[in-house]
Symmetry: none
Subunit: 238 residues, 4 copies
Amino acid sequence: MASPTRSTSDAPRGRKPSRKLPVPEKTKVKDWRNAEGRNERSRLIHAALFTAAAEVVGAHGYEGASITLITQRAGVAQGTFYNHFESRQDILDQLLPRLGKEMLDYVGECSRQGSTLLEREELGFRGFYAFLKAHPHFFRILNEAPSFAPKAHQAHIELVRDGYMRFLKRGLDTGEIKGFEEKELEVAAFVMMGARLYLGHFATQAGKNDGDGQDIPDWVTTAYCKLIRHGLTGAGQG
Amino acid sequence: MASPTRSTSDAPRGRKPSRKLPVPEKTKVKDWRNAEGRNERSRLIHAALFTAAAEVVGAHGYEGASITLITQRAGVAQGTFYNHFESRQDILDQLLPRLGKEMLDYVGECSRQGSTLLEREELGFRGFYAFLKAHPHFFRILNEAPSFAPKAHQAHIELVRDGYMRFLKRGLDTGEIKGFEEKELEVAAFVMMGARLYLGHFATQAGKNDGDGQDIPDWVTTAYCKLIRHGLTGAGQG
Amino acid sequence: MASPTRSTSDAPRGRKPSRKLPVPEKTKVKDWRNAEGRNERSRLIHAALFTAAAEVVGAHGYEGASITLITQRAGVAQGTFYNHFESRQDILDQLLPRLGKEMLDYVGECSRQGSTLLEREELGFRGFYAFLKAHPHFFRILNEAPSFAPKAHQAHIELVRDGYMRFLKRGLDTGEIKGFEEKELEVAAFVMMGARLYLGHFATQAGKNDGDGQDIPDWVTTAYCKLIRHGLTGAGQG
Amino acid sequence: MASPTRSTSDAPRGRKPSRKLPVPEKTKVKDWRNAEGRNERSRLIHAALFTAAAEVVGAHGYEGASITLITQRAGVAQGTFYNHFESRQDILDQLLPRLGKEMLDYVGECSRQGSTLLEREELGFRGFYAFLKAHPHFFRILNEAPSFAPKAHQAHIELVRDGYMRFLKRGLDTGEIKGFEEKELEVAAFVMMGARLYLGHFATQAGKNDGDGQDIPDWVTTAYCKLIRHGLTGAGQG
DNA sequence: AATGAATGAGCATTCATTCAT
DNA sequence: AATGAATGAATGCTCATTCAT
């Protein structure tokens, strides 16, 4: 950035960087009863089941996501489920990969609006919580995945980590990041991923009951960015 | 680093700071069949059930922790379980608080060996993974707690956060931490907590199957400390 | 009695008034395996479960009526039970209402064959025991209901009492019943209901083990009718 | 009675025949902790268990009468139970015989205050409900006995029946009872026993919740006596 | 004799999956 | 391909009874 005295997050003109954020689109499922061709109908039922599963897991957790609940919400018979998915575990395993990709796409889009690495990280950070707000089920799906869809979670983690490492590698190349070897970027990536997960506490703690995500307070973003930029000892701040 | 004498983590004589770490004691349950006196016997059975539960959750997750499995491993009849715990959920709810306290005690002990804030954080960080190695079940118990023992998890999080915030507050007072308002320390606390969770990947990924924790590589600790100290931009490193 | 020709119960040609009784139909459940169509099949399984439950309660009491026993006797899997009834208590609660209605219908039909109030009572009395013979489980179902299906029993009692009171009210109106206020008919109703229950001892005491009801001896009916008609002091008999 | 036109129960001077009733003594158990000799102590514990069982059955029914509940209420350890009774069924089987004898003794005492058969029956009738009021557990113990203590119940029934038959036989001998053969008295006995059971509805229905018996209304007694004396057709009343 | 913890058979209920229609 | 009832293994929990102290 131009001057160390103007931090990304507390610059006057950066007050509401969230205005820059694209609007995350809510998932909308068309009613399969109006479908025309057989293929179309089948496709829509599949989508209805998938969305129903996401909602049910969001509301009752993976454990409470029974086939009965999922099919009821999708408006199909229990047996129909097995025409579209191998097993209960099968659909649970697909939840995070598909939704995770959506999340990554959106967050990446947000991030690309910024010009410097730190600005991009801030936008990605904000984008993540904006996505959470638009997809209130995602947080629980992500949170419980280690227990209930371990492989999917592992894959998701690696996907995000790799994206982060590519992102950080560019920072290393441009000199924005200093003092790290390439290998060490993985550590940074994990720290930032962990941060997003734990700072979710600020997004949900205010939320009443529904898990309807709240916006994350601006000062949290500010503090996070400060930490990422300067560390705790804050050398170079003055 | 400019000077080895200032570097906490990569100073030659600091190569193995883990040598300083106290040895975490492994839980060992005496066979209750040799107990004398009813009280002693009862106490041992209780402990056997608790340990068995921790092991079973570590191996099969909270979900797979059936009473059958727990009592079989403890070597008692199913009904005996209910003489010591109210319900299945009861014991699951006690797992994290009890083990979490053990962990905090041990990590605190480690941390106190250091003199500077950053040294203490490094020792605490290493201590955390040393504890994980001695208690291979703890990681899964902690990880899955949000899904299966949400209240216990929330309490644990708050306990750790509060400890962290007291720790950081001292750094603020001594001037070791700069550029943060007191309120913002909560963000730092969560980032560091999230880091420990996610960097656990380096400790478990090598572990074959048993979840037998591995040591966390030194370079990971180094990178983490660097990040905490200077942030990504590494100002003041040169 | 003044004249044998007027006596309902001990008139020579009335010796076998039971000949007048309609034949109570035994419950017969068709094998559901031969059913055509899903609806029919489902209906038959439901009936099989209901009948099995009645038989099991008749044989082992409400307390011994486990789902295992009921489904085994019905020839279906345990889980099937819960496709047809909410819970174990649900089916137990339905036993008396359904069978009680059958009983009341049959007894009412019997009673209506008579012309005078006392004749009708005798026919109803005989009909009750004929029903018991055809439905050997009913007695125990009725007897244990206060303990195990209290609401159903209360409802049954009230149903029978109300029927009785309407019946007796007509007697009051025609002058066949003398010396009672309308309100007092409830007492008479309960006495007659209690009588049927306790006089069941004559019907079952001979029955070996199965509770296979026996016919109630004629002299018991005679004595009962005498008591109802004239009371103990038998005024007007001479 | 002085005059047949003045029935027992509604004669002015008979308004409160219950005043004549002896006062039923409530069961009182001495605290066994104050016992002196070993025998005395044992005897008191036995009594405490018995009383506790009666209370528990009265409150929770035979089914809910667990050893835990009984011993807790008696203030002894679970194991102690088996030093005094063979099994759970054993104590349940003793409940009705012992309490039934108490009831019979008291009711007999009441009955003997009267001079005519019908007066005695009325006094016994009233005495029965006075006993119920003093021993609120007895009704449930009696009611559920057919299901849970069938042998004890059968014995009780026979005991009461035999008493009744002796009572009625005297009426036959004195000429107070007319028109019945000796054998037929059994029918009358059962009718009167059934009446007491069913007319209990008038005693409990008003009782709110505790099963604390209420007095049976006078008009019920009146109607009952009328029915027993004259039957339904009431010949000889005018 | 009293204690109270250990025992384990037994129960109602759930739910992923199958399969005849 | 959709249906929805049937299946039966698995689970948490209760409680009468036993027995070492």
